[in-house]
Symmetry: C2
Subunit: 338 residues, 2 copies
Amino acid sequence: MNLKEFAGRLGLSQTTVSRALSGYPEVKKATRERVLKAAAELGYRPNTSALGLATGRVGTIGIVFRGGGDFGPHTSEFMGGLGSRLQQADVDILLSTVDSREAELATYRRLAASKRVDAVILHSPAVDDPRIALLTDLRLPFVLHGRTETAGNFAFLDIDNYGAIRQATDLLTALGHRRIALVNGHRGYTFTEHRQDGYAAALGARGIGIDPNLLGNGDFTDEMGFRLMQGFLAQENRPTAVLAGSMMSALGAMRAIRSAGMTVGEHISLIAHDDVFPYLSPENLIPTLTTTRSSIRAAGTRIAEMVLDLLQGTPAADLNEVWPVELVMRNSTAPPAG
Amino acid sequence: MNLKEFAGRLGLSQTTVSRALSGYPEVKKATRERVLKAAAELGYRPNTSALGLATGRVGTIGIVFRGGGDFGPHTSEFMGGLGSRLQQADVDILLSTVDSREAELATYRRLAASKRVDAVILHSPAVDDPRIALLTDLRLPFVLHGRTETAGNFAFLDIDNYGAIRQATDLLTALGHRRIALVNGHRGYTFTEHRQDGYAAALGARGIGIDPNLLGNGDFTDEMGFRLMQGFLAQENRPTAVLAGSMMSALGAMRAIRSAGMTVGEHISLIAHDDVFPYLSPENLIPTLTTTRSSIRAAGTRIAEMVLDLLQGTPAADLNEVWPVELVMRNSTAPPAG
DNA sequence: CTGAAAGCGCTTACAG
DNA sequence: CTGAAAGCGCTTACAG
């Protein structure tokens, strides 16, 4: 059923019905109520394409993922938060999958040219990220999950990765550890660099140099945590503590430690970064895990609000947030053994 | 830039340009090539809303998730497969998040009434699922991931959950196990029931009765696997083997077994269903895990093809597939301990 | 407070 | 092989 038919049934003009539905003030209260009631009863909804053509707004926010690796548990949590908040505003998410960085850029061009979305969410920023310039150029509004050094003012929400790892490393050095391994993300991403900076600063404060053999980079997966940890343990001068970039990496690291016949929280201390997965709690591991904690789902929710604000006209420069990260001590951290 | 401007630059009518872009045969080859080249150079793309209005097709497939629980690692893998295939056809995914079953039904009504999507993907079907009737009624094309007993012919892709668990249970009984626990999904879902049926059939074939105390239902999470397994182990007459519904449940079950001072593949045999997570391989666990294996990502890819076929006019009745599940023996299964 | 009509940017029968 | 024009279903200045 279209507007014409719907208005016809009510004996009103399309104009009045449209205004009643959009909550314009000029419509008599009784008329509006009648229209709203009928719309609910008959299930009338404006055609999205027509609405998009007429207003230039389509009620959709885009997000692009790289097909394979990107689509992990972190993404799920983030999308859960993002989606549930957007849904309250009747905004949907348009999800595009791409195979490469070039394809990602091409997708933003496509989305902008075809006016398929009102804004996009950017994620996993690199220190120097070409997407910022592209989107600015395309005049496609966006909110960045993370930060970048790229100039320009734009909306973003990041967590304090530097502070998180700085705190965690400080705890370990305070306990007496001097050989601390870091299971980090891929080089070049802002969060990876910030974490390494926090690590370096904490070690520097204790006069401990950085041993490149204790630095590992890779996906935040069980598999990669296992492999990197095995590598650390195979070294002559093995670490007495590890910082794991995610709960997944931590699971892998714990397996590697156990298979080497050692015990977490006794022979090796472990601190993990916890994005708060409802199905994988550090409280439930054995031993319970000391973590740096920040909910990625909450970040998704907040970013949804930020993008809605942006579309309402809030200046991007007013939509910048950096969230602190909490260090939660549990049983996986102890002074170095003997 | 819109069609009018773009056509103007080329000195052609909108009609001809539109036809060239859509690959209509009536356009002279030289003209078409000139148009295509210019479109690529100038980045011209038809406005999606206008295109949707004119053709009734919007190039978008919808999928609805329940905000909290639905959005787990299984979803990620599925979406990865779905998205990468749809992207090749320049089709995007519209993702809606809801809080309840009622809200999900309301969302399909909204999507249909506002013509926001060309089709939807349905997932997690219940044995008797009201969504089938609703979508049929709304004439919104759909492909179901899973099966249901509901009448009507519609497109679906499911895996043979019955056969998977039947095989797995047969292996355990053949090894001599008689007390076998089942960590299953929530009751009412088709896959849960099919799995339980396969389990019951295998036990029945050996004359073993079903002990309700060995049946557990819940989310496929580490947490739930841990809790259910703890419950099984706390029983007087504890099981000697367990079937875990997912790799996540298996991780939790393994932790529970270890914390009870027992060893998987020695004191307790374990078979997990593996949806093939790239970051969590049964080969890498200790011991390596015997699994029933079926890639949920591959299912997503295939469902993408099915929905594209459906929109091309393939009858839904021709789009029904049930995939076999492979049993892969590794080291977590052994005869019951003395 | 309400309505007739132009316009958003396409596609596609119809005419040539 | 190409084009002028109607039509898809809305919103919104403009007029009353």
